[in-house]
Symmetry: C2
Subunit: 330 residues, 2 copies
């Protein structure tokens, strides 16, 4: 085995595109680069050409840094929207990686799967990924289970946009004199977004409405200490997040193991104790056989971890035609 044997990981999300190279035996990123632009999504899904024209030169640059004789033994690409919008990527990326980088072991993963691999590696368990949205993904290493992640109008219950929207609803209730209103949240609304009556005109013309809603979630967190309405919103969010975790967490095996691991990842949980306190309580009630563990790493680390498994010991996480696609393996 050569000292120049590496694995390549890619993490493509709404806010950017990151590429990393790691020694194939450790999977710990040695070289990382951030590309200029988030990958575009067009009418036929994620724009494979736009991803490749950024990733291939970036990978080439990282290989130069790695030194003479460095080769890519395996690669994994995680992308937001991979499950539903990844057809072109699955069709075009394997050949492009083979032609340009000489790598034939490739995996294409949904961002929730790279989040999973980054957090728990190849162990069974569940990951809750919370940001503007909210999705839970779990596996017993035989199959994947997914809960929520349906977007701000159909679910994402307990995520950032959900919390922000509930907070703004409570603020507008206070403005109108309706039951369930929070004068504290109304004061925060007017401080950060202007007059309450102007909010519809601010929100509805935007294309990134969920992001605007989610931007109010930290205000709900900040009010929760002294405002019962805000505290109740976070208790309900915690219950919804635990509901998603409970739906995907592998059951108790009854064979003397110490239960399922759950990792919480994503910016939502930076809200801290106002959300995490109620969430620990809900998880203990709804998924008593599980224990919350810290995530080992982020989705880019997860992509490297998947590539490392492909290059060496073999992938323990289950293959899936859209969640975790490995060409040549069915």
């Amino acid at each position: 085995m050569s000292a120049g044997r590496f694995v390549l990981g890619v993490d493509s999300g709404g806010s950017g595109l990151r590429v990393a190279l790691a020694p194939a035996d450790t999977g710990r990123a040695a070289f990382t680069t951030v590309c200029a632009e988030p990958v575009r999504t067009g009418a036929d899904g994620i724009d494979a050409g736009h991803l490749l024209e950024q990733v291939l030169p970036a990978a080439g640059g990282l290989l130069v840094k790695a030194g003479p004789g460095a080769v890519v033994a395996a690669a994994a690409v995680g992308a937001a929207g991979m499950a539903t919008l990844g057809d072109r990527l699955r069709a075009e990326l394997p050949k492009a990686f083979a032609d340009s980088l000489g790598v034939r072991r490739v995996a294409l993963a949904a961002d929730a799967v790279t989040a999973y691999a980054g957090a728990l590696g190849g162990r069974p368990g569940a990951v809750v990924a919370g940001g503007t949205g909210m999705i839970a993904l779990g596996t017993d290493l035989t199959a994947w289970r997914r809960a929520d992640g349906w977007g701000h109008l159909l679910g994402d219950s307990g995520g950032g946009a959900w919390i922000g929207r509930a907070g703004l609803d409570a603020a507008m209730r206070a403005h109108d004199g309706r039951r369930g209103g929070s004068p504290a949240l109304l004061a925060r609304l007017e401080a950060v977004l202007g007059p309450a009556t102007g909010l519809p005109g601010l929100l509805y013309p935007r294309t990134d409405r969920p992001a605007l809603l989610a931007s109010f979630a930290p205000e709900v967190g900040a009010c929760a200490g002294g405002d019962e309405v805000a505290a109740r919103i976070l208790r309900e969010a915690a219950a919804h997040i635990a509901e998603a975790a409970a739906a995907v967490c592998p059951g108790p095996t009854g064979s003397g193991t110490d239960g399922c691991e759950i990792a919480l990842t994503g910016g939502l949980f930076r809200m801290g104790e106002p959300l995490l306190g109620p969430l620990r309580g809900e998880l203990a009630r709804q998924v008593p056989h599980a224990r919350v563990v810290p995530a080992e790493g982020d989705p880019l680390h997860g992509a490297l971890e998947i590539a490392r498994s492909l290059a060496g010991p073999g992938l323990r996480l289950p293959h899936h035609p859209t969640l975790l696609f490995v060409p040549g393996v069915t």
Copy 2:
């Protein structure tokens, strides 16, 4: 007073534009016409030119039907969006009506105000207008009070889009195996909208998302008889509708009157008993001094009623710079 003295009423909404002519002494529509197109809304609000180029010929046609010597003594125009998007209408319509129809007594009203006038005439009380959205408007004849009507992301609590969204959320929960799911609503979702996993791809690209959400509300109503989740959604909707009514209903006068009248108007209430049953209960609890009365007429009738008041006995409903604007009266 001439037998040829008439009032003109206009009702402009998202689904169409209607014009009616009524004898000035009764206000009961004698001639009605429906124009070809809903009035456009542009960057600077409701398109006044688009409204006038349809309303003026329609009014002329109705005057011909009314017979030789018919004159318009007063006119009222109710329009969706009038309060926030009606600047151009308020600036241009009075002169255009004076020049083309010879009418100088004109009112420009929000659609909630014409709904109010149609339902309760010039009496104090409250109107709840429910369709895709939900708004409550009340007056003691001194000032207007408004509650909700903030759109599908900030409120409209208990309206059609709210009920439909809650129903779809429960359907997706059943799909995922999350707590709070309804297999009955999931079955209805798949029957009317196709596979659950395809719903995000169906909903999010559309510009009329609230309408699609509201289209599922009747399914929730149809399931409520046998499905506890659907029944709970309608109980919560009823509570929210009553909260809005309670916020705007004039208080008990303590002077021996028999309390405030509340009228329920709009397509939402065609859902019937599954919603109306819980709503009567909630109104009795939250607004005990009020009684629910049938609406006398629709918003077009309300526009005629406002015009009739302007032409004759005088307007009892309070003037307001955007809700009920009467040029020359401040």
